[in-house]
Amino acid sequence: MSAISFPEPALATEPVEHAQPRPRRWYRQPALASGVILLAIILFAAIAAPLLTSYDPIKENLGQSLLGPSGHHWLGTDQTGRDTFSRLLYGLRTDLRIAFIAVLFPFCIGTILGSIAGYFGGWVDTVLMRLVDIVVAFPFYVLLIALVFVLGPGESSIYIAITLVGWVSYARIIRGEILVAKRQDYVVAARSGGLSSVRIIARHLLPNVITQAIIYAMSDIVQDILAIVTLGYFGLGVPPPTADLGSMINDGQNFLTTHWQLTTFPGLAVVVVGLSLSLIGDGLADLIRPGQS
């Protein structure tokens, strides 16, 4: 009779490995670091606008219209005598606020619908993805402008239009990630533990896949800001007299040959905002995606 004899190892004293990968610091990513710094400056300028300028961005002063840059008016004044620098800061404030809020709705709705489609599959998935195909079939700006035109200009129309057009990208990203992740053992283990589908999606799947949507959201904000500025340019954005970069560019272009600063600086502001957010998006992607230094 053979017997496999086993030594008597001490229980519960196994040393625990500390095999943590060396953390990659965010500030070692040049793209991410410069993007964050740039955005911090812009956000500070927008939030602290009342401290940085003493001029009211709305109050007209026809006696001082179309002044050139000077010590009093750093960027001059527009045709109704409003301080351009002040309007620029307040315009950034408006546009950034709308863009950050606007990105939240499609992010949430797209994530929820994408999770449902990816996790449950079947006819739910088919219906949702056909819906996505329909929206994707239209060019982003064309559909957006058409929707805002139908809904009427204004902030709420912008939110509704961006949500209706923007959720599809998030839904696609999250659906794809969930399709892969739901086959992982930890999801089978969670199902084996008798957890509900909602709990498995919310507590187990989404924390593992949401980073991809967050990275996309960074570039989506850029797109949304451009959209808001474009709508403002067409007069479909925030109604006047509220300062908005798009309407500033439009108002200024009548004086492009004589007062170039009226259009150029709002345009540059849009470029810098877009650049900072793109840098952050790229940097985040590099930081989060494994196998890259």
Partner: protein
């Protein structure tokens, strides 16, 4: 005399009561591109309260599918086409997901082969252990955390207060498997299904985990179905064994009877191909050939193309399990041939 039967671990309660889990004529089919795979083809199992059943077989013999069917967590392309899975008198097959969710956890739970991939990488282990009690036992956050700490202590995780907030990647393989066991025990189940829980671990850790499982199961009178291809592990932990081949059971019985005195040529082949620690064999004897296709399985006995004792009737006659004296059964039509071969071999050595 050779055989992988080891010393029985002290622990599991051999004098078990009535049947707690009964699987009757279970069929699982997988829709694949090249046809329908009959992954589980008429499997019947019984597990008594407090009993440990070893389910052994080659890769692809349907062991894991049987487990996942019992728990109702088959992959989407696989379905239970017929059969019953009766737990405490209730057939689980027709139950809805929400009804099953009241059974998974408090009544049945599962331990997986790869503890790394079976733990959520972005969730603190303490929260993963505490989740079951919160959902199924209605514990509040503090009480569930207390329960998790108690379980971590029971499964031998040192310094549980500190480890509670750690992530799975900060644990070693053995520690991760202890976390898995703590999760499986968290709602006091009646039966734990183990899908090769020690395969991914090195041998010393394997032994620790097996001893831990045996001790915990005795403490709380939990039944086990233990899927593995490691015969010494089954010999160590289980009272009863069921051998699977090609989606069907070929032999069942007491673990000593079956492993020391196989009544099926496939079991004999498994025993001969298992390494033995004490009597180092001169050579391991492999089973010739490859596992059968489950899309177009061989006619008659599924093992006949690889069987050394094959007869003409093996190729045509169906081979259901037949009861043998001594509370065991075999699917072999000519099981005496295995006995004779074994007797001749023992007389010779």
């Amino acid at each position: 005399m050779t055989g992988p039967v080891g010393t029985q671990l002290p622990g599991l309660n051999p004098a078990a009561g009535g049947q707690m889990l009964e699987v009757r004529d279970l069929h699982v089919e997988i829709a694949a591109r090249h046809g329908i795979v009959r992954a589980v083809d008429g499997v019947s199992l019984e597990v008594a309260s407090g009993e440990a059943l070893g389910l052994v077989g080659e890769s692809g013999s349907g062991k894991s599918m049987t487990l996942r069917a019992i728990l109702g967590v088959l992959p989407p392309e696989a379905t239970v086409t017929s059969g019953q899975i009766v737990l405490d008198g209730v057939d689980l097959v027709p139950l809805s997901t929400s009804d099953m969710n009241r059974i998974r956890g408090p009544k049945m739970s599962m331990i997986f082969q790869e503890p790394m991939s079976a733990l959520n990488p972005v969730m603190r282990v303490g929260n993963q252990i505490a989740e079951g009690p919160r959902v199924h036992l209605g514990y509040n956050k503090a009480k569930a955390a207390e329960r998790a700490l108690e379980l971590m202590r029971r499964v031998g995780i040192p310094d549980p207060e500190r480890r509670f907030r750690a992530f799975p990647h900060e644990f070693s393989g053995g520690m991760r498997q202890r976390v898995m066991i703590a999760i499986a025990l968290s709602c006091d189940p009646e039966i734990i299904l183990c899908d090769e829980p020690t395969t991914a671990l090195d041998v010393t850790i394997q032994d620790q985990i097996l001893r831990l499982l045996a001790r915990l199961c005795k403490e709380s009178n939990v039944s086990l179905i233990f899927v593995t291809h490691d015969l010494p592990v089954v010999a160590q932990l289980c009272q009863r064994i069921a051998v699977m081949y090609g989606g069907q059971l070929v032999e069942t019985g007491d673990v000593r009877d079956v492993l020391l005195d196989p009544r099926h040529p496939y079991t004999l082949g498994l025993v001969r191909s298992a390494p033995d620690a004490e009597l180092v064999r001169e050579s391991l004897v492999p089973i010739p050939g490859a596992p059968p296709s489950l899309v177009t399985p061989p006619s008659g006995c599924r093992f006949h193309p690889r069987c050394a004792f094959v007869e003409e009737d093996c190729k045509v006659l169906p081979t259901p399990l037949r009861e043998l004296p001594g509370d065991r059964s075999t699917a072999c039509l000519h099981y005496e041939r295995t006995e004779e071969a074994l007797a001749a071999e023992r007389a010779g050595s």
